[in-house]
Every structure is written in C-alpha cells, then in structure tokens.
Symmetry: C2
Subunit: 133 residues, 2 copies
C-alpha cells in the first residue's frame, strides 16, 4: 500500500486481477491480434483509451508483447510471467486440496447423518405400524 | 478500472498482488497465528493499521478466516479461493511451457554455434600448426 515499483510477481497478479485484462489474454491465447481488435469487444462498456490502458497494464507486466511486423504491430501473449505465478500458487496446493477434502468429509457426514435419520424414521414408522396392529 | 465490486477471481489475484500479503499467507501456511503475530514482522516498515489493512484484504478475498476459539481468534489460511486462480492459470500452461521451449531451443542454438566455432578454431589451429611444421 506504499508507493513503490512492484516486484514482478505482484505485477503479474495485479495484471490478472481484472476481468477485461483476463478476457484480452484469453483472446490472445487464440492468436495474435491488433490493439483495435483486442479493444473492440469492450468498447460498449468503456472508452478506447480505457481499453488501451488495460492493454498497457498487460504489457508492463510482460504478459503481452508487441511484435514488429511489416504492416502492423500485432499483440502476442507471452506466458513466461505466468510460470512464476503458477509456481507460487503450487506451494499452496495442499491447502486448496485440503479444503476440498474437508468439503468431501462434510458431505460424507451429511450423507451419513441423513441415512441415519432415514433409518430411524423407517424404524419409527415400523414401530408405530407394529403398535397400530 | 471502473468502480465496481470485483468478481471473486479478480479479488483473489488482487489479494496476491502484494509481497506483504503473500508473506502473511506464507506464515499462515505454517499454522494459525494471531493478528499481532502476523503483523509483527512488518512493523519496522509499516504501521499496525497498515498491516491490519493488508490482513483485511486477505480476509475479504476469503484467503484468511478468523477462527472462533475460547481465548483468542487465530487467523487460518483458507486455500479454497486459490483453486480457481490455479485453474485459470492452468489454461495458459502451454504458453509458459512454450516460452521455456523457446528458451531451450535458443540455448541449443547457442551451444551448437559455440561447438561449431570451437571446432573451426581447433581446425584453424591445426592448419596453422601444420603450416608451421
């Protein structure tokens, strides 16, 4: 929260923390695109400068590079910064798998509980039937 | 860049986009900790309210939860939001592996080139030696 040049990992995560920027990366994962092609789907929600600003954030984070070609300068997805981000994430894999395990255990408890309740109800019914007879 | 409630994935990535917050998660990956224990390592660089603000960002993103215990309310790491972030990242695996492949190819080219240069130099030397004799 201080004014400072962010470290590369923070810059990568900050660049990913926006749905427009993630959508731009998704578009680029299908192939190169010009700035106007990339901006176009967002122009009903934002101005061209706003869309270009998003693209600049991706460029500064090294996730998008502008290739030099003869007639145009298409944008290309560069996955390299994602590698460090994924490696960071990987350290915590046990924690999200654990949370799924816990969910699994919880669901099992629920199933077991409802099975017990069903058995008890069935027995109760049986008993009531027996009394009635 | 508009004022809006961020989607959960953006909130996760934004929470990770800070070295203090990542360090707090690293600390919590070793076990539960109190707010003051979590803040303590950062108090030479920032105020307690600033450190608490970082912790609040992690809580809002669902990455840290405060457990209710008798005497204290320790903070616990909750890995669940990281699962979606990792799944998003996974879609781009080919792009960071590709960039490594390209680096690999480049290194191979360099090695091959320096091997050729070495052979040429050795041959040259041999020729020079032959001429001397």
């Amino acid at each position: 929260m201080q004014a400072h040049v962010p470290d590369p990992l923070s810059q990568t995560f900050a660049a990913l923390a926006d749905p427009t920027r993630r959508a731009m990366l998704a578009r680029l994962s299908k192939g190169q695109a010009s700035v106007s092609d990339l901006a176009q789907p967002f122009l009903k929600d934002m101005s061209l400068p706003a869309a270009t600003k998003h693209l600049k954030v991706l460029e500064r984070a090294g996730l998008v590079t502008k290739t030099r070609e003869a007639q145009w300068r298409p944008c290309t997805l560069n996955g390299a910064p994602l590698k460090d981000a994924a490696a960071w994430m990987e350290q915590y894999r046990e924690f999200w798998e654990q949370s799924l395990d816990r969910l699994g255990e919880y669901l099992e408890t629920l199933t077991a509980r409802s099975a017990r309740t069903a058995t008890r109800k069935a027995k109760g019914k049986g008993r009531r039937h027996a009394r009635k007879r």
